[in-house]
């Protein structure tokens, strides 16, 4: 299956933020969206998720126009992982994950045994089953991000849209979250995520959509897109893209920002 954005223009109301964006993700693939602050990554995300309406162009999922899809059906195809935040009430982790079943439940229903089973298996799939009875407000930021991924998995979607899944996480938790993201892609999910670290695209061997400061989009494999020139044009700093040897002799690409 393919999630495709064709010649999209998006923005708030009449104000245009991004123009002529064309990009796609296949099932089993990770698309890493990179770009400087304020260039419109969030706007693009909100447009894909239907919070903002398209000003121009088309977004299709498996050939169907997303804007014509009712909310319930949409949520069964496409799961959203927002940035981890604290809700006003201390729900149990399991209760939060079960909310992923909303699109599969009747209008007046409360979660069934089956819904709870699916939520538990999502937690297990991410190896965080031990969190199920904890208060969502009292677990760490990394755990909260994992719980939100589990909630999106509980929707049993074909695609995941992740808004900076590694932001505000410590070094170790960033990698732990990325590891799970890669695993999910291997299992066949299509994933779009934003990041502020070009390295993350290398780590996940993903495809990259780089939005430069002028709003132009470069799309392709990480190796082709994450170049020293492109990073300079995107972030306005000098970056060295280099290759090191991993513990098993494999080549690992990495970016090193330069101070001058």
């Amino acid at each position: 299956m393919k999630l495709e954005i064709k010649n999209a223009a998006c923005g708030y109301g009449k104000k245009n933020v991004l123009k002529d964006i064309s990009v796609f993700v296949n099932s089993g693939e990770i698309l890493c969206l990179l770009g400087p602050n304020g260039v419109g990554k969030t706007t693009l995300f909100k447009t894909i998720l239907g919070f903002l309406s398209l000003q121009h162009g088309l977004i299709t999922l498996g050939g169907t126009d997303l804007s014509t899809m009712p909310a319930r059906q949409f949520a069964r195809k496409l799961g959203y992982v927002p940035q981890a935040h604290t809700p006003p009430f201390p729900f149990k982790v399991l209760d939060v994950v079960v909310m992923g079943r909303t699109a599969h439940m009747g209008a007046f229903a409360t979660p069934s045994k089956n819904d709870i089973e699916i939520a538990l298996s999502s937690l297990e799939r991410l190896e965080i089953g031990f969190l199920k009875d904890r208060a969502y407000t009292e677990i760490s930021g990394g755990e909260r991000q994992m719980v939100l991924i589990a909630r999106a998995l509980t929707q049993t979607p074909d695609f995941l849209v992740m808004d900076e899944p590694t932001s505000s996480l410590d070094y170790g938790n960033q990698i732990r979250v990325l590891r799970q993201v890669c695993r999910l892609a291997k299992d066949g999910l299509g994933i779009i995520m934003t990041s502020h670290f070009p390295d993350h695209a290398f780590l996940c061997t993903s495809r990259v959509a780089l939005i430069k400061r002028d709003g132009n989009l470069v799309c392709g494999n990480a190796h082709d897109v994450i170049t020293e020139e492109n990073l300079k044009e995107t972030y306005g700093i000098n970056v060295k893209v280099t290759e090191i040897e991993g513990p098993n002799g494999e080549a690992i690409q990495t970016c090193v920002p330069l101070m001058n």
């Binding site: 919070f51 496409l78 930021g141």
Partner: protein, 359 residues
């Protein structure tokens, strides 16, 4: 930020948690609260200036249900069915209505500090009643005016927020315009009080605004019964969706919820409950704010249990407070004063205890 080994530590503590016997015991909170309400209900029949002992009460109820011959004085029956019963039923419904709508508003506005009068319902209803008293309407007129102005104030809040907001942050704007409308109607009420005759009208208005159930007759039971049912049923049916809504508009939408429709149904149902409660009981503050907190302490934040728990605790609480109001002194104490005297310290206690259930 958490240390790197956090995941490991959590695993261990989770294992210890599993072994503790407390986590195994599950108290069926909602049924227990139901039993408490029934106990408070029966108890309330027995007390009052004309006290009726419990055995006699049960005997009368038994006799009435099975059509047995009367073996009790007629005065007792009159007191029970024409005076005490309507008042008790109204206290139950008013308490449940205020607490249930408070809990729902808190979920919808993602804010545990929200109370049912946030959109102007109470202020509007208070003005309607004051105006009706000024114009010498009878009791039905007062209640109808209060009801209409309560709903009207909320409608005004909506219209204003949609004119101001168009597409932006709908929830915040609703709360802000609700504050504007509330203070507007409070000003209107002050004008009414200012021009009211200080010898008879002004005390009457003031007393009505303090809240109370002393003038309840069987007619009021019917007046609140229908709006109560119409308001409470959708809230109970949609209660689980309140969990999802409390994560915010966008997340709820992405989870597949028709946020617009669900939110409107819940707001209309809650407003109906608030207005009908204010229409027959006047301004009874604090119930809609503190009871959901209390319910959250005993039943947890999940609306599946929280909403029924709020309804039951609210009903029990107002019933018992009204018992105090009518029996403590020979003269009735206005209900609103009592709920404030109990509510304010409880709220302070929540603040001191800190961050439990919110923040």
């Amino acid at each position: 930020m958490p240390p790197v080994e956090e995941f490991e530590i959590e695993k261990k503590s989770a294992l210890i948690g599993l072994k503790s016997p407390l986590s195994r015991i599950k108290i069926p909170i909602v049924p227990v609260l139901g039993v408490l309400l029934i106990a408070a209900f029966l108890f309330s029949f027995t007390i009052g200036r004309y006290s009726i002992p419990l055995p006699q009460l049960l005997q009368i109820i038994w006799g009435k249900t099975f059509g047995l011959a009367k073996s009790w004085p007629v005065t007792v029956e009159t007191v029970l069915f024409n005076v005490r019963m309507p008042r008790i039923l109204c206290a139950v419904m008013v308490g449940a209505a205020l607490a249930g709508s408070g809990a729902s508003y808190q979920g919808i506005f993602k804010n545990p500090m929200v109370s049912p009068d946030i959109l102007g319902a109470s202020a509007g209803a208070g003005f309607g009643a004051s105006l009706a008293i000024l114009l010498s309407f009878n009791i039905i007129g007062i209640e109808l005016m209060s009801f209409c102005f309560g709903i009207g104030a909320v409608l005004l809040t909506y219209i204003l927020s949609s004119i101001v907001g168009r597409h932006s942050n709908a929830v915040l704007l609703l709360v802000l315009t609700g504050m504007v409308v509330t203070s507007l109607f409070n000003a209107f009420t002050s004008i009414v009080k200012y021009v009211a005759d200080p010898n008879n009208k002004l005390p009457e208005i003031t007393f009505w605004l303090m809240g109370g159930l002393s003038s309840i007759t069987p007619r009021e039971v019917w007046m609140i019964l229908f709006p109560f049912i119409i308001g409470v049923v959708p809230l109970v049916l949609l209660r689980w969706k309140l969990n999802v809504l409390s994560f915010g508009e966008e997340e709820a939408k992405a989870l597949g919820l028709n946020t617009r429709r669900v939110r409107y149904v819940i707001i209309i149902a809650s407003t109906l409950l608030t207005s009908s409660a204010v229409a027959i009981a006047g301004m009874v503050g604090w119930v809609g704010l503190i009871i959901p907190h209390l319910a959250r302490l005993v039943a947890g934040p999940n609306y599946k249990r929280l909403l029924p728990a709020s309804l039951l605790i609210g009903a029990t609480f107002l019933l018992l407070v009204d018992d105090v109001a009518r029996t403590l002194f020979t003269m009735e104490i206005p209900l609103g004063i009592l709920t404030a005297i109990i509510g304010a310290p409880f709220f302070l206690y929540l603040l001191l205890k800190g961050r439990h259930g919110w923040e």
